[in-house]
């Protein structure tokens, strides 16, 4: 009886193996279709022109960014749907190296947006800047959101659109970890 049960388990496991194989193939097909249709992440480069090579504080961004080794300044707008989905995907506290500039028409609108988002109480308020009437973005000539501006060694270097949370995660600077402690 035990032998028959064990053989039955083995045969069922093999059946599951075959079904998993078919499922894996289906996932590969879906991925291929997505690639052909072009609905995978396709971020666009934003031409930053004269902004490249300048210090962030020149445009009203915090001075601490000028001494940052590597950071992403994410420009969001309270009126953009993608921005809301990006904010919904953010973790508390904000990932290291991420600064958020929220464009809003006034402080009340900004407070309303922050109140309903993951940015509220993220214990990283100093990295969330409210840009009333888009003054910071205006100084840079930036008129699209969501856009991620890269800061390298305290200098603004490049910018891309940020179409998804996954892309945002991929461009965030990797944290530098300590090496093994030697006694």
């Amino acid at each position: 009886m035990v032998t028959i049960a064990l053989i039955a388990v083995g045969v069922l496991a093999l059946l599951v193996f075959v079904l998993f194989g078919a499922l894996l193939e289906m996932y590969r097909d879906v991925r291929q279709l997505r690639d052909v249709v072009g609905i995978l992440d396709r971020p666009l480069n934003v031409e930053v022109g004269a902004v490249a090579g300048t210090k962030p504080s020149k445009y009203g961004l915090p001075h601490s960014l000028d001494s940052s080794t590597s950071a992403i300044v994410l420009f969001l707008s309270e009126r953009c749907a993608t921005c809301r989905s990006l904010v919904a995907g953010l973790t508390k506290p904000l990932p290291l190296g991420l600064w958020v500039v929220l464009e809003a028409k006034d402080t009340a609108a900004a407070a309303a947006f922050l109140g309903t988002s993951a940015l509220a109480g993220a214990n990283s308020e100093e990295r969330v800047i409210v840009d009333v009437a888009g003054s910071i973005a205006g100084r840079m000539g930036l008129n699209a959101t969501p856009v991620g501006l890269r800061v390298e060694k305290g200098i603004l270097t490049s910018a891309t659109t940020v179409p998804s949370s996954r892309y945002l995660t991929s461009i965030l600077p990797a944290p530098i970890r300590l090496g093994t402690v030697r006694p």
């Binding site: 028959i4 053989i7 075959v18 194989g21 749907a81």
Partner: protein, 172 residues
């Protein structure tokens, strides 16, 4: 050994086309290639079961050497072709080519057959064989399941990402 044979045999049996394509590269007509592919897949599965239930049988040990020898010869012939021949050893989706790997793999297979010959002195009971069979099957099914989980997470990320991009396109 049994897990490898089972995995390879079942993947080939599930979708014979890639194996048929590989065999056709050796100049066999389509009908014969299909028969050969079916033979390879069935032999691998049968051999895996034989390893689990009758590892002591001389026929099992000789079959291992013969099959790995056949793969080795196929690898040697494939090396002489101008263009590489896709292996499809573990079904569709692999990136391997027939060649050195099959030639080299002959020696571990030979060693395994010798290990069975000189390491097993009595026939395991049917219950023991069934336990080995269940364990091996569950093992390969679990390994495949990990791949499915990984793919499902990637597919979900793609879906969420695509939704994000649609929202972005609408807002511009």
């Amino acid at each position: 050994m049994a897990a490898t044979l089972l995995w390879a045999g079942l993947e080939k049996a599930r979708n014979l086309a890639p194996t048929v394509a590989t065999i056709r590269r050796f100049g066999l007509p389509h009908r014969l290639s299909r028969l050969a592919a079916l033979f390879v897949a069935t032999t691998e599965i049968a051999l895996a079961i034989a390893v689990l239930f009758r590892p002591d049988a001389i026929l099992t040990q000789i079959s291992i050497v013969v099959l790995s020898g056949m793969f080795g010869i196929a690898g040697w012939i494939a090396l002489r072709f101008d263009e590489p021949v896709r292996c499809n050893c573990f079904g569709q989706g692999g990136n391997g080519y027939l060649g050195i790997a099959q030639l080299v793999a002959f020696f571990p297979w030979l060693a395994s057959a010798l290990l069975l010959q000189f390491g097993i002195f009595e026939t395991p009971s049917l219950e023991t064989g069934a336990a080995y069979f269940a364990t091996t099957s569950l093992g390969i099914a679990s390994a495949k399941g990990i791949g499915v989980l990984k793919s499902s997470r990637e597919a979900r990320a793609d879906r969420v990402s695509a939704r994000g991009m649609y929202a972005w396109l609408r807002s511009h």
